[in-house]
């Protein structure tokens, strides 16, 4: 058992890649076999994550299950992995959503082999970001994940996929450019990329060794801070860097959207939590107001943008902007609380952070579910235009029920998961960023509006006869599709009524990190 304990993170990280390599050697016409191999293979990291979760020591401090190997000695970068409560939650989200996304892709029959391999490579890329404790390794996985996603959109997407995939790629790479430069700069100054060391060194640094003397430390820190912020803000996405997202989502295949919204957006928020808050506490404090402003803008404009859509998938895509805004609001509250001695603030910011991290997890569940449900109806009707639907509830009662359930989670109905996290965020942010919190809460009103608009247009109102008879007759959600939704719905309800099990883990990270 020592073996598993010692190498657990590596096993989780690389098992998807291994499965992908196995699939590479399968005959490409055996589609069924490939699908099942991919699905069962992707359950391996999930099972291992459950082992990880059960062995995670809630009373231990710092990063657990650390592994460190030599990687790039010339520039002192090591392959350093480790998890805390924050990473663990995200790892669970990733390994949970990937099998579901693969199951959701069972209807893909075009080049199944390449498709499944890309998905599994993507999983390794995402997990690597969540586990990395070395800045360079973080960056490596951060960029690597782009490649499979690009090809998933570009090859299996819908009509405008070429435009959307290139926009996604160039936007993210362009955003990461500043991150790349800032990472290099840190490596030059400290001669190490090890995160736990940088946590100690960089915030306390008073001089820039190894760099030309005319560089002012304060300016460099501020510029590097914004370089990090922009890289992650593009990914979150924060207004005004969000414009790639509706395009990418709309054109991506259903499972691609699930992973994109479910996990990829979290990479950005994770970057804020893992890198920006610990590395730049002072700069984050100075610019917390700006972050909160952007977060509020994302919440309000995201909701308005969503309400204005006639494309069902775009509606859900803009809702991601809206929901991720709450994550950043919680982060901004924590940033603004740095160094404060006010007991109210001291008591509130951990609540906001807990809420933000839980919101990341929750949005992962509900956004993946929503995108899947959009995909289900798109597959049957070949349209996503809300005006083409109407009154479908009697035709597909089970689908309608699931859609309403998931929408309600997204809307923040008490009893479901979205409520818990959004409440924690606004509760924690209130004493720190009162004005922004008030505006954000008003934004929640529009969240309700667009979600109800979506439900109304699809399920209620006069029945569009086109879908009722003949060859276009709408068929009910099938067993496989219900199987995709079932775990999501169980988790949504579970966290909604009893969030303690996951908040314990998250709170562990919040307390030890900040």
């Amino acid at each position: 058992m020592d073996f598993i304990n010692n190498y657990l993170l590596s096993l989780i990280l690389f098992s998807p890649t291994l499965v992908a390599l196995v699939i590479f050697f399968l005959p490409k016409d055996e589609m069924k076999f490939i699908r099942w191999t991919a699905l069962i293979g992707s359950l391996i990291p999930f099972a291992l994550t459950l082992v990880l979760w059960s062995r995670f020591n809630l009373n231990g401090s710092g990063f657990q299950f650390q592994e460190q190997y030599k990687w790039y000695e010339a520039i002192n970068s090591t392959f350093h992995l480790g998890v805390d409560g924050l990473s663990l939650t995200m790892v669970l989200l990733t390994t949970l959503l990937t099998p579901l996304a693969i199951l959701a892709s069972f209807n893909i029959s075009d080049r199944v082999k390449a498709y499944m391999m890309l998905f599994l490579f993507l999983e390794t890329g995402m997990l690597g970001v969540f586990m990395a404790l070395d800045l360079l390794i973080f960056f490596v996985f951060w960029e690597i994940g782009l490649v499979p996603m690009y090809f998933l959109i570009n090859q299996w997407g819908s009509a405008n996929r070429n435009y959307a995939s290139l926009k996604f790629m160039i936007y993210t790479m362009g955003g990461s450019l500043g991150l790349l430069l800032a990472v290099q700069m840190l490596g030059v100054v400290f001669g190490t990329y090890d995160l736990p060391q940088l946590y100690e060194l960089w915030p306390a640094a008073q001089t820039l060794s190894n760099l030309p003397a005319w560089l002012d430390i304060g300016t460099v820190k501020t510029v590097a801070f914004w370089a990090f912020v922009i890289a992650f803000a593009v990914k979150v996405p924060l207004w005004p860097f969000h414009t790639w997202l509706p395009d990418a989502h709309t054109e991506a295949p259903t499972a691609g959207s699930m992973i994109l919204a479910g996990v990829l957006l979290k990479l950005g928020a994770y970057g804020f939590l893992r890198l920006i808050l610990p590395l730049y506490p002072e700069q984050a404090l100075v610019y917390a107001g700006a972050l909160a402003l952007l977060a509020t803008a994302a919440i309000v404009f995201g909701a308005f943008g969503s309400y204005g859509q006639t494309d069902f998938k775009r509606l859900v895509a803009y809702s991601s902007v809206n929901h991720m805004g709450f994550v950043v609001l919680g982060i901004a509250a924590a940033a603004a609380a740095y160094g404060s001695t006010d007991p109210v603030v001291q008591a509130s910011y951990p609540i906001a952070l807990n809420g933000a991290i839980l919101q990341m997890f929750n949005h992962g569940l509900s956004a993946a579910g929503m995108f899947f449900l959009v995909g289900v109806i798109y597959e049957r009707t070949h349209t996503r235009n809300l005006n083409d639907f109407g009154g479908l509830f009697p035709l597909v009662p089970v689908y309608g029920g699931i859609l309403i359930f998931t929408s309600m989670a997204s809307l923040g109905l008490p009893g479901l998961n979205g409520f818990v996290s959004e409440f924690l965020v606004v509760r924690g942010s209130w004493p720190i960023l009162t004005v922004y919190t008030v505006i954000s809460m008003l934004g929640l009103l529009f969240t309700g509006a667009y979600i109800l608009k979506g439900i109304k247009s699809v399920l209620h109102g006069p029945l569009n006869e086109h879908w009722a008879h003949g060859e276009h007759k709408l068929t009910e959600i099938n067993f496989r599709e219900i199987l995709v939704m079932a775990p999501l719905m169980v988790m949504i309800l579970w966290i909604g009524v009893w969030p303690v099990w996951i908040l314990n883990v998250i709170n562990k990270a919040v307390v030890s990190l900040f």
């Binding site: 520039i75 690597i144 690009y150 290139l166 160039i170 790349l180 430069l181 760099l211």
Partner: protein, 494 residues
């Protein structure tokens, strides 16, 4: 007397070339088999050198010395260090894959392979030369066959123009360098009383600072012309475009490294104080090449021109690394030479495969190649990711330290040069999308066939190299570092 492995590597191609010339011209298949056998032999020997080079001992290894013209101090002295060993391997790989790719040449394959092998011998010779005279000797041997290869087997539209332009540029560059080399030879004689072209001897010659400052620029830039340094780069894309596939692979894959390598070996290592004095200028040129090359590549519609200018951009990164004169930057430059060599060889190989089938290289006229030649598509995509500096591939391993090295010296240059990464991503992804994934134009429908097994072997060979170095930098980086340590010793720094 140890086994003269380096000499065997150097002379295998030229001897094989002579033997091929003795074969009857119509026995094309025998010629090809002979060529492949010689290339495989050279590749295996260079692999052997690569893996037996002792990175712990460092320094020049596998040395051989013979007196050639003792009265003038000219000797035959070969040896490899951590900087040149990867380049010997690179030459072996490009030679091997180049022969595989050229299997289908029907027009006088005998002469083609003979000239190609003379070229290969010249390249091997420069990389292992430790004698300045010998270095020039092999350098000219490498340049001269290019003229014939391009002018005879090249793209009919521009081949005479390009061959002439290329040869004139390179000869002028090397003549300028040669003047500098003779100056070094004489001043070294005055300083030490020993007449010698031996570079290990010249390193000890105590050139005055003023001498170094005067002569560094002609020597360095004369060689750097072949490395495609801005503003002397514009022979290079023309040459790429006009050259037949295997020659383009050699040209971009190895020959441009020859320029950068000779500029390093003769310019920086023999005139270190001159290098320190002029490094800001070299860095400026290099940074312009990096960004400007990427922008021009973005504007191209001909695939070969696009790759040609991307080579200017990537060789600019090599020069950028060299100009930092610190350990990180030089290490990156060394790895980048190898990484860019295999990557661009792959690019030209795949472009050649497409051109052979579609008879056009115009990106707007191509499309849908991934359906008919998926293997080539995957190869090109992997090459593209290397080109973009995507982590996990060798390009990242090389570019990252180069940028780090620049940070030590001049942060602004690092920031400006990094723009090229996004531009490169844009033109590479656009090219992949248009050529491979867009629907195939009707006039090409049915005319395109899949690549053959030899092409696949070539593609797999280079892809594996790029991925292995990307995932496990230790297979190459420590070796390059030993070479860099040697350079730093001459620079008098840490």
């Amino acid at each position: 007397m140890t086994f003269p492995i380096l000499s065997i590597i150097v002379f295998t191609p030229i001897v094989a070339g002579m033997l091929i010339l003795l074969m009857p011209a119509q026995r094309k298949n025998e010629v090809r088999v002979m060529a492949l056998a010689a290339a495989t032999f050279a590749l295996l020997l260079s692999i052997w050198v690569y893996f037996t080079y002792d990175s712990n001992a460092a320094g020049y290894q596998f040395q051989e010395t013979y007196n050639w013209l003792p009265a003038l101090g000219i000797g035959y002295h070969v040896g490899v260090d951590g900087m040149s060993t990867p380049l010997v391997l690179l030459t072996g790989v490009v030679m091997f894959t180049g022969v595989l790719i050229s299997w289908g040449i029907e027009d006088r394959p005998r002469e083609f392979f003979a000239f190609l092998f003379i070229l290969a011998s010249g390249v091997f010779g420069v990389f292992v030369a430790l004698d300045l005279f010998q270095l020039f000797f092999f350098y000219e041997i490498a340049v001269f066959p290019m003229f014939l290869l391009i002018a005879i087997w090249g793209w009919i539209v521009t081949r005479e123009y390009a061959a002439m332009k290329l040869t004139l540029y390179l000869f002028i560059g090397s003549v300028v360098s040669l003047v500098g080399a003779l100056a070094m030879y004489w001043v070294s004689y005055q300083n030490t009383g020993v007449l010698s072209f031996d570079m290990l001897q010249l390193e000890q010659a105590n050139f005055s600072e003023q001498f170094q400052i005067i002569w560094f620029l002609p020597v360095f830039l004369g060689f750097a012309v072949l490395g495609g340094i801005w503003p002397f780069h514009n022979w290079s894309p023309d040459g790429h475009v006009a050259a037949p596939t295997a020659v383009s692979m050699f040209h971009a894959g190895v020959l441009m490294k020859l320029g950068a390598f000779a500029a390093l070996r003769v310019g920086i290592m023999l005139l270190p104080q001159g290098a320190q004095f002029w490094s800001p200028l070299v860095m400026t040129f290099a940074a312009i090449a990096v960004v400007y090359g990427a922008f021009i590549a973005f504007m191209q519609e001909d695939m070969k021109y696009m790759i040609g200018f991307s080579s200017v951009s990537h060789m600019g990164l090599v020069m950028l690394g060299l100009s930092t004169l610190n350990k990180t930057g030089l290490t990156g430059a060394g790895v980048q030479m190898f990484s860019h060599g295999v990557m661009t060889a792959l690019f030209f190989a795949v472009t050649g495969m497409i051109y052979d089938r579609a008879h056009t290289r115009q990106i707007p006229e191509l499309g849908g190649m991934s359906k008919v030649m998926p293997f080539a598509a995957i190869g090109f995509i992997i090459g593209g990711l290397v080109s973009m500096g995507m982590p996990g591939f060798s390009g990242f391993i090389a570019e990252f330290p180069i940028f780090m090295g620049v940070w030590y010296v001049q942060p602004w240059v690092a920031i400006i040069a990094s723009i090229s990464i996004v531009i490169t991503a844009a033109y590479i992804m656009r090219n992949i999308r248009d050529v491979f994934f867009r629907p195939m134009p009707e006039n090409l429908e049915g005319h395109i066939t899949d690549v053959n097994v030899l092409d696949k072997v070539a593609i797999v060979t280079v892809c594996v190299l790029m991925i292995v170095i990307g995932l496990f930098p230790r297979v190459m980086v420590p070796m390059v570092q030993t070479g860099v340590d040697n350079i730093l010793r001459l620079l008098g720094g840490a």
